[in-house]
Amino acid sequence: MPSVSSTLTMPLMVGTVLGVVGFISVVAMILVYAERKVAAHFQCRLGPMRVGWHGTLQSIADSLKLFLKEDIVPTKADHLLHAFAPVISVMAAILTLIAIPFSSHLVLADVSIGVLYVSAVSGIGVLGILLGGWSSNNKWSLLGAMRAGAQIISYELSVTLSLLVIILFAGSLRLTDIVHSQEAGWWIWRAPGVGLLAFVLFLIASTAEINRTPFDLAEGESELTAGFHTEYSGLRFAFFFLAEYMNLFIVAAMGATLFWGGWMPLHIGGFTAFNQLMDFIPGTVWFFGKVITLIFVIMWFRWTFPRLRVDQLMSLEWKVLMPLGFLNLLVAAFLSLFGWYFFPLVF
C-alpha cells in the first residue's frame, strides 16, 4: 500500500501539518454553514441569507469575528490549563484525522492498528473538555465537563463494540485493509443483520460521543448555560467549536470507512458490468459523498430528536446499547467464523 507517510521529510511534514490545519478550518467552516442551513430548512426557516449569496460567506464573517473578539479569562481560572484545554481538543481531532484513508493514495499515516489508534486518540478529546470545565472555575463548566466525561466514557464502549464487529469480518485493524476487504460489498449489508445493527449502534453511540444533540448534555443551554465552554470566548472558543465539527467529520469518516466501504465504489460481488461502471467515479468522490451523507443524517438527528435527560442517557447506554452490542458481537463472531456472510470467497 503506497502511502505518504513512508516518504515524509521535514519540509514535507511541515507542509502536511499546514495542509491539515487548512483542511480542518475549511471543513469546519463548511460544516458550520451546512449545519445552519440544514437546521433552518428542517425548521421551516431559511438560515443565513445576507452575507454573500445565500449566506455562503457567513462562516468566514463569523470566524473573523471570533478571531477579533476579546479573549476573556476568569480571574480565578487555572490560566495554564484554561489555555491548554482547547488545544488538546483540536489536537485530538487532528491526530485522528491523519489516520483516515481519503482515497487509495491519500492516506497521511497508514497505521497498522488504525481502528485502535483512532478510538484511542479521539478519546483524548474528552481530556480537553474535562480540563476546560475544571480550569474555568465555574460550576456550570465543571458540571458540563463531568457530564461530557461520563457520557464519552460510557458510549466509547458501544462504539468499540460495534467497530469490533467489522474488525472480525475484515480481519484487520488497519483502516486501508478494512477498506480493501469491502471490494465485494460494504460490510453494512454483507454481514447479514449484524452489520446493519452495528452501524446503527455506531451511529447512536458516536453521536453521543461527540456531544451532539440529542446527547448534548455537556452543554445543555437550558440548564448549564453553555456547559464546559461557558467561560471561553474568542479564539479559544473557536478552537472548541472547531474540534466539535472536526469530530463530526471524523465520526462520519469512520462510519463511511468501516461500514460503507470508505473510498471503495459501490461493488456487488459478481455483477462485473455494474462494478466497472461504479469504478469510473473517483475514490475521493465516493469517500466524501458517503461522509456528507452521514453528516447529513447526524444533523437530521440533531434537528429532529428530543433531548435526553442525564439518567435516560446513562440507561440508554448501559441497559440498551451495550447489551445489544455484546449480543451483536457474539452473533457476528459466529457468522465470521463459519463464513456465513455474502461473498466470503472474494478476498
Binding site: 430548512h41 428542517f42 425548521q43 421551516c44 431559511l46 434537528w303 429532529t304
Partner: protein, 214 residues
C-alpha cells in the same frame, strides 16, 4: 406527516396514552419507530421549500405575507365617509392594562351627552393584548397590519386615532343637512391631543410637532 391530526376538529389535544409494554425489544422497536416518524416530518419540511415561513423582509416588502391575526397598530375604524362609531364610553381605556389609551371627550351640545374629542393611543407602552378591541361595545377598534412604525422620537409614538372630534356616525347620519353636519365636527390630526408622554422632553430630540390643545 400525520395530516388528519392537524385537520381534525376539536382534536388538538389527544389523551396521553400509557406506553404499551412490549418487552425489551418491543420497546426499542417502538421508540425507533417513533423517531423515524419524527425524521419523516422534518424531512418533509426539508425537501419542501414552500413550507419555509421566513420572510426576506426589506426585499420582499411589496409581496410580504402577514398572518391575518397580526396585531401591529391599533386603529379606530372610520367608514367610507370618514366617520367612526366611538361614543367615548371609556371602556377600552379602562380595559387597557397599561393605560395606553387615553379617551378625551367633550360635551356634545345637541344631545347633552359626551362625544369623542381625541383618542390617544400610545404605541410605546401598548402590549398588543387586543383587550381594547375585544371590549369595545360598538366594535370601533381593530388591529392593523402596518408595522413599520419606528420613529426617532418616542413622543411620536403617541397617536391620536380619530380623524375628527364630534359625534358618532349614527348621529351624523341622522343629520341630513351637509352644512350642519360639517359644523358638528372638527378635524383632528394624528399628533393632535393632550398626551405628551408625561411631559418628558428627550434630550437631543426635536420638539414634538404636535400642537397642544388649550
Amino acid at each position: 406527516m400525520d395530516d388528519d391530526r392537524l385537520t381534525a376538529k376539536n382534536n388538538y389535544v389527544k389523551p396521553v396514552q400509557a406506553l404499551p409494554i412490549r418487552g425489551f425489544f418491543g420497546r426499542i422497536a417502538y421508540g425507533l419507530g417513533s423517531l423515524l416518524k419524527g425524521m419523516r416530518v422534518t424531512m418533509h419540511y426539508f425537501i419542501h421549500p414552500s413550507t419555509v415561513v421566513t420572510q426576506q423582509y426589506p426585499e420582499n416588502r411589496e409581496t410580504l405575507v402577514l398572518s391575518p391575526r397580526i396585531r401591529s397598530q391599533l386603529s379606530l375604524i372610520h367608514d367610507e365617509s370618514g366617520y367612526h362609531k366611538c361614543t367615548a364610553c371609556h371602556i377600552c381605556e379602562q380595559a387597557c392594562p397599561n393605560a395606553s389609551i387615553h379617551v378625551v371627550d367633550r360635551p356634545e351640545p345637541a344631545i347633552s351627552k359626551k362625544e369623542l374629542d381625541f383618542f390617544i393611543w400610545r404605541l410605546d407602552s401598548c402590549t398588543f393584548c387586543n383587550l381594547c378591541v375585544m371590549v369595545c361595545p360598538f366594535q370601533c377598534l381593530e388591529m392593523k397590519p402596518t408595522f413599520e412604525s419606528s420613529v426617532y422620537d418616542q413622543r411620536l409614538l403617541a397617536y391620536n386615532l380619530t380623524k375628527y372630534a364630534g359625534p358618532t356616525s349614527t348621529v351624523l347620519a341622522k343629520q341630513t343637512d351637509d352644512e350642519a353636519r360639517k359644523n358638528m365636527i372638527e378635524p383632528r390630526q394624528v399628533y393632535d391631543g393632550p398626551t405628551e408622554l408625561g411631559g418628558f422632553i428627550l434630550a437631543g430630540m426635536p420638539e414634538s410637532t404636535r400642537e397642544k390643545k388649550s
